[in-house]
Symmetry: C2
Subunit: 194 residues, 2 copies
């Protein structure tokens, strides 16, 4: 899933280590934030710190890779959910999947706004991957007349983002409730597509 773009195909053990590092980094970022010690990540992955720095010379490289990895996983969940559920339910489940994804990104949001140009491309990647994924779910739901057709995937993604990464102080679960409300709102106007 990683590093198969060009050049020669990377040695097998190296690929294994990269995967282990991504998995470890995902876990550590969630528990200790994006500024967690490099050694913690290397230890969890079962490799030396040198190996970490060989594959991800800058911290932002690792952060970016983990982020893209998770965005990909989130996007990939859409077709699976569409197969297994009614369109409206699939949409709802995917949005919750998306909220869970966002919930693990508190620390990452800080990095995104840190001004480091290394992160500039992430929001684009985000939209490019998730936009179409959500769009297919929306279209199916509109087709099935379970929701109305008046929302763009971009708007919905941003709306859910802002609901899930709140400014200020508020109790847990607030984001999830607001997302439910949003989906119900979409359902309300459902009917024959014009």
């Amino acid at each position: 899933m990683t590093q198969d773009t060009a050049s020669r195909p990377l040695r097998a053990d190296a690929q294994r280590n990269i995967d282990a590092l991504l998995e470890a980094a995902k876990t550590v970022f969630r528990t200790s934030g994006v500024d967690a010690p490099a050694k913690e990540i290397a230890d969890l992955a079962g490799v030396g710190v040198g190996t970490l720095y060989r594959h991800f010379p800058k911290r932002s490289d690792l952060v970016t890779a983990v982020f893209q990895h998770e965005v990909d996983a989130c996007a990939a969940a859409a077709p699976a959910l569409a197969d297994e559920n009614e369109p409206g339910v699939a949409l709802e489940k995917w949005l919750h999947r998306y909220t869970e994804f966002l919930a693990t990104k508190r620390g990452l949001a800080s990095a995104l706004h840190s001004g480091d140009p290394a992160f500039d491309a992430l929001p684009c990647y985000f939209m490019e991957r998730l936009g179409p994924a959500l769009d297919s779910l929306l279209e199916a739901a509109v087709e099935a007349r379970e929701i109305r057709a008046l929302v763009s995937p971009q708007d919905l993604l941003y709306a859910v983002s802002k609901l899930s990464l709140p400014l200020g102080d508020e109790e847990a679960g607030h984001g999830r409730r607001m997302v439910d409300l949003l989906v119900d709102g979409l359902r309300h106007g459902a009917g024959p597509s014009r």
Copy 2:
């Protein structure tokens, strides 16, 4: 303006150092972010690092103090602007003053969302100080029939916050333009108060 709540009145040189540290930290936070080296702040303030840690044992103590200091300054600007300008202009100028304040807070926003409970009280402090300040400007402008009366200070503060601390990638100045638009929107419906 600082540390005069209780106990004995703090030695004069200590108070001077505290002020110098706050001033230095404000500058350094702006240029190097909230994670800047402690020594950089201490040097700029002309004191040893020990002095910094004596007054602000944890980094969050310093961050919190600087933040409150700046919130106070921003709130204090409201009456002055109200004296020197027409109500509508005072409102507009203050909102721009507020945007400038927010613009220096990129790094701080990260800290706020970092999950450190030390920062939990900041958003409340923020609203408590700025809410009334903005409210007085709004009331004066409504009274003078320069804007309509349909907005709460909380909504306006949050709206401007979100416009000024954008998610995603966008060119500079976007926040400022959107704030202008918002103020024009307020003006549009102006007329006899009901």
